[in-house]
Symmetry: C2
Subunit: 217 residues, 2 copies
Amino acid sequence: MVFKKEIMNQLKEEILSLRLTPGTIISETALSERYQLSRTPIRDILKQLSLEDYIHIYPKKGNIVSYIDLESVEQIIYLRYALEKEIMKELMRGIPLKDLHVLKDNLLRQLQCIDEPENTDAFLELDDEFHKTMFILAGREFLWELIQQFNVHYVRYRKLHMLKKDKLKEIQQEHQFILDCIVGGEEGRIDELLHHHLRSDIRFIDFQEPYTQYIKQ
Amino acid sequence: MVFKKEIMNQLKEEILSLRLTPGTIISETALSERYQLSRTPIRDILKQLSLEDYIHIYPKKGNIVSYIDLESVEQIIYLRYALEKEIMKELMRGIPLKDLHVLKDNLLRQLQCIDEPENTDAFLELDDEFHKTMFILAGREFLWELIQQFNVHYVRYRKLHMLKKDKLKEIQQEHQFILDCIVGGEEGRIDELLHHHLRSDIRFIDFQEPYTQYIKQ
DNA sequence: GAAAGTAATCTTGTATACAAGATTTTAGTT
DNA sequence: AACTAAAATCTTGTATACAAGATTACTTTC
């Protein structure tokens, strides 16, 4: 028995990983046959996917995997920038040694992923884990999960962006700076650090072929 | 012909206004008969309502209007606090006179609503309009709409909170301070202002009967 | 009368037939 | 060959019958 949640997570994963490329047609009957389920529960899944912007439903025509919306990417980055500034201030007021160790351990694992191009996905997961941990330590896991619900465009953008040049080393170092800042307590540097870490790249977007066709016009 | 969107907006409005009180049973067949529609489209509506936390679906048991989740309220307030701080900084860099007039006009209309207890709802709408306008002027309407999707708990909390004591005058004055700050340019006061405006009340929640039964335990 | 077990009746979940719009194909005409 | 029009075939949207779990009511038993 295949559960609806499994199917949905599987579809989400395939879309986020870009194995299902933007524009791909997702028909109810195809999924229905693939998973040996009637159209009704399949429709439930597609409805939810459309609400989270994974797909776009054209009534009586069909459903396609959504194109990457750069406007959404920029807005989500701004949201994270504003939030994480506040969260860093919170953590600077004092962070337990045990929790500090969790973050340091994460950075070590990031280092191990660098220079191994096949480990880009693993690095991105550690990146997420680093930021999520900060959210959790500040008592803001709720907001982290909230943002995740609007991450379709950002996650895919980041994946393409990472492929372009190998920025992994740079990102890892910035994470190190962030951690140093939390421990060292230079509140004045927070804005500059996060601005560069999150917002600096978005202005210079120019994806090469064949990725331009993934972008919403 | 009754459209699905109309039905959903109607249900949302009834829940937000507390005419449909938390805990009220919402059965598919009841709605089906009320709107002369089959269960299938009704289920679509309920599915979406549950994703936005308006209702809670208990599989094979039934659906109820969700209870007010104070945790969600606090988190959303924190989110707005962090975001609006950033937005105010943005607006302080310069705001067109025309746009300034829009905000000033809004504050005048707020004044007119005060002292007329039957106009509390109108005041709340103007409150939203004031903040939304700031988002729009800073180019962040996207984020305003994003927050709206998680507002079920906050909107209902605020409604009850406003009923308690008449805080309308105080709120209007704080809006005035915010506007003065944007024009005057005292960046140091932003944090203090918004902290008081958004976050100060949430700690002292103690709803009286009969409202305690609306709150999620 | 109290407790237990069973049956009836609720609820939502799923499968399927049909409706209706959009697209594609095909046949016919010029 | 090119254009037009109609028909066939896609698609999703809706209605409805049935499935299955949860609750309620009732009957039986002690």
